[in-house]
């Protein structure tokens, strides 16, 4: 089990970023993702990187923890970097690496693309790291509410999302438990020929599915027993409300965007 898997994980806290309205966070992230693709100079990349790093700092979640948790993503970043390094043939030849000529353009391209990738991943993980799954789904339900007019089942979609998000950690725990139990019965998940290892997954998956179905059934029954009958007329325990900090966040972000376009080269 990878204990450091942080994609989708929430780290409880009470920082400024934790307190921003989830709708604000989603909006900002949406535009951040778009604007990352507009960056094309040292200055504009610098501004976005600084913005992402400062936000991370404000969350009070150790950067080291986040970086470590993104291990699978690192492979992708290194892979894209190497690809650009080898394939791009712009600019001057810098040096020779095992018979490959490395061009200055390749280095610049590689760094730019990897940085872009890194910023996207870092910034989007900040959302799940600082926002509870419930808040995220509430925000999505609220933001999609206009679609109700065309009979789009917004509430059901949000409910499905929150249930799936809620059960990811539970399923991971269950997987760990069952894999430990089967390891004790002599199953080897780590070594041996590939065919054997694929076969070893069966004793893991069958109990996992059985318990997932059982859990789903019990959850449905418990919800009905407590009078759940869909979204119509249902009120909310937590009301989302735009506060002054959200206004400040929007203002600040607008400044960042203006800075970005000023520093962009054409």
């Amino acid at each position: 089990m990878n204990e450091y898997m942080i994609i989708g994980q929430y780290v409880p806290g009470n920082s400024f970023v934790h307190r921003i309205d989830p709708r604000t966070k989603i909006t900002i992230i949406f535009f951040f993702v778009i604007f990352v693709f507009f960056a094309n100079s040292v200055g504009s990349y610098g501004i976005l990187t600084a913005f992402a790093l400062i936000t991370t700092f404000i969350t009070r979640i150790p950067l080291k923890f986040i970086l470590k948790g993104l291990t699978p993503v690192w492979f992708l970043i290194i892979f894209t970097f190497s690809l650009h390094l080898i394939v791009t043939k712009d600019g001057t030849v810098l040096f020779n690496l095992f018979g490959w000529e490395i061009y200055s353009g390749g280095v610049i391209q590689g760094v730019a693309i990897s940085l872009r990738f890194f910023l996207l991943i870092l910034f989007t993980s900040l959302l799940t790291l600082t926002t509870t799954p419930i808040e995220i789904t509430d925000a999505i339900e609220d933001m999609l509410a206009p679609l109700n007019k065309i009979k789009f089942p917004v509430h059901e979609l949000a409910l499905m999302m929150s249930i799936s998000l809620r059960f990811i950690p539970t399923l991971m725990q269950e997987t760990e438990k069952i894999s430990k139990a089967q390891s004790s019965r002599g199953v080897d998940f780590r070594t041996g020929p590939l065919k054997e290892r694929i076969k070893a997954v069966v004793p893991l998956l069958v109990p996992l599915f059985v318990s997932a179905f059982k859990r789903a059934e019990e959850l449905a029954m418990a919800m009905e027993a407590r009078g759940y009958r869909g979204g119509e007329g249902r009120t909310k325990l937590r009301l989302l409300k735009i506060q002054s900090i959200d206004i400040w966040v929007y203002l600040l972000f607008t400044c960042v965007i203006i800075g970005l376009f000023l520093l962009r080269t054409y």
């Binding site: 204990e3 450091y4 780290v11 979640i61 150790p62 080291k64 923890f65 470590k68 948790g69 269950e174 438990k177 069952i178 430990k180 139990a181 089967q182 390891s183 004790s184 019965r185 002599g186 199953v187 080897d188 069966v202 004793p203 069958v206 109990p207 059985v210 318990s211």
Partner: protein, 288 residues
């Protein structure tokens, strides 16, 4: 096999905001062939401790020795499979590990993985079924069609079929009916004595601890809180109450008896009938 914990600490998700110290500097020794009960409030680290016994987790700090096998953070264990064939663990709610099409196949799964011969597995199954209280007809059924209690018995049979030298039990009777609880515990105790097993039992039942164990270890928030002979450790009412545990009823009764009549009856695992006779003798003697 002797089991030794030396200054063992275990931290879940080390180096993250979720880091949690589940075991803190624990040391103890279990002699080969003894029956040890591990007791503690929920979350005190019992299950975590058990997972060290067959190398499912490695101590973050310190060293665990089981027979000739050494586990520590910096060393890779060789022959971990061999160790696992010698240490059988019945997990909390073991019925969740069933997956085969038939009960028979599920029981045979463990021994097959450890390379036991087919004919030998068959004879072991024939031997174990009556011991765990399952009728032969059940072998052909799907484990998923059974009741919870029957599933539990199948899972236990699957662990016993490996014939481990050390038997580790994590609340094996939780959620069974009282009669079933007694049957299963008596079966484990019988095996323990007949095959000279080393048995480690995690339990919430003080009655079971005092009835079966020759040694108890009490955990509290990842620390070893008390250790010693059950009749001594489990009669210390004050210390036990401090960590949300109770003195077993039998001992409570003996303590109350002593207080009321000023006569001490030592607890030596006597049955209720035997105790009644002892009391009768004592009280009659006092009258005359």
């Amino acid at each position: 096999m002797d089991i030794t914990f030396k200054d063992v600490s275990y931290i879940y998700q080390e180096n993250s905001p979720f880091a949690h110290k589940a075991l803190d500097n624990i040391s103890f020794h279990i002699t080969s062939g003894s029956f040890v009960a591990i007791i503690g409030h929920t979350g005190s680290g019992k299950s975590t401790l058990l997972q060290h016994l067959n190398g499912l987790v490695k101590p973050t700090k310190g060293e665990v020795t089981i027979g000739d096998y050494h586990l520590s953070n910096d060393k890779k264990i060789r022959n971990i499979k061999e160790l696992r064939s010698k240490v059988g663990i019945v997990f909390q709610y073991p019925e969740h590990q069933l997956f085969e099409e038939t009960v028979e196949k599920d029981i045979a799964f463990g021994p097959e993985n450890f390379g036991v011969e087919k004919s030998e597995i068959q004879s072991r199954i024939q031997e174990i079924l009556p011991a765990v209280g399952l009728p032969k007809e059940m072998l052909e059924r799907s484990p998923f069609d059974l009741s919870g209690g029957q599933m539990r018995r199948v899972a236990i049979a699957g662990v016993l079929a490996v014939k481990p030298k050390v038997l580790v039990l994590d609340e094996p009777t939780a959620g069974l009916d009282p009669r079933g609880q007694k049957e299963i515990m008596d079966m484990f105790y019988d095996l323990h004595q007949k095959q000279g097993l080393t048995t480690v039992l995690v339990t919430h039942s003080m009655e079971d601890a005092v009835k079966y164990a020759d040694h108890v270890i009490i955990l509290n928030k990842g620390n070893k809180y008390m250790e010693g002979k059950p009749e001594e450790v489990l009669s210390d009412q004050k210390a036990l109450n401090k960590v949300n545990l109770d003195v077993p009823e039998m001992i409570q009764f003996l303590l109350a008896f002593e207080k009321r009549f000023g006569m001490k009856i030592p607890y030596e695992r006597q049955s209720v009938q035997k105790l009644a006779v002892q009391m009768q003798h004592l009280l009659k003697g006092a009258e005359s």
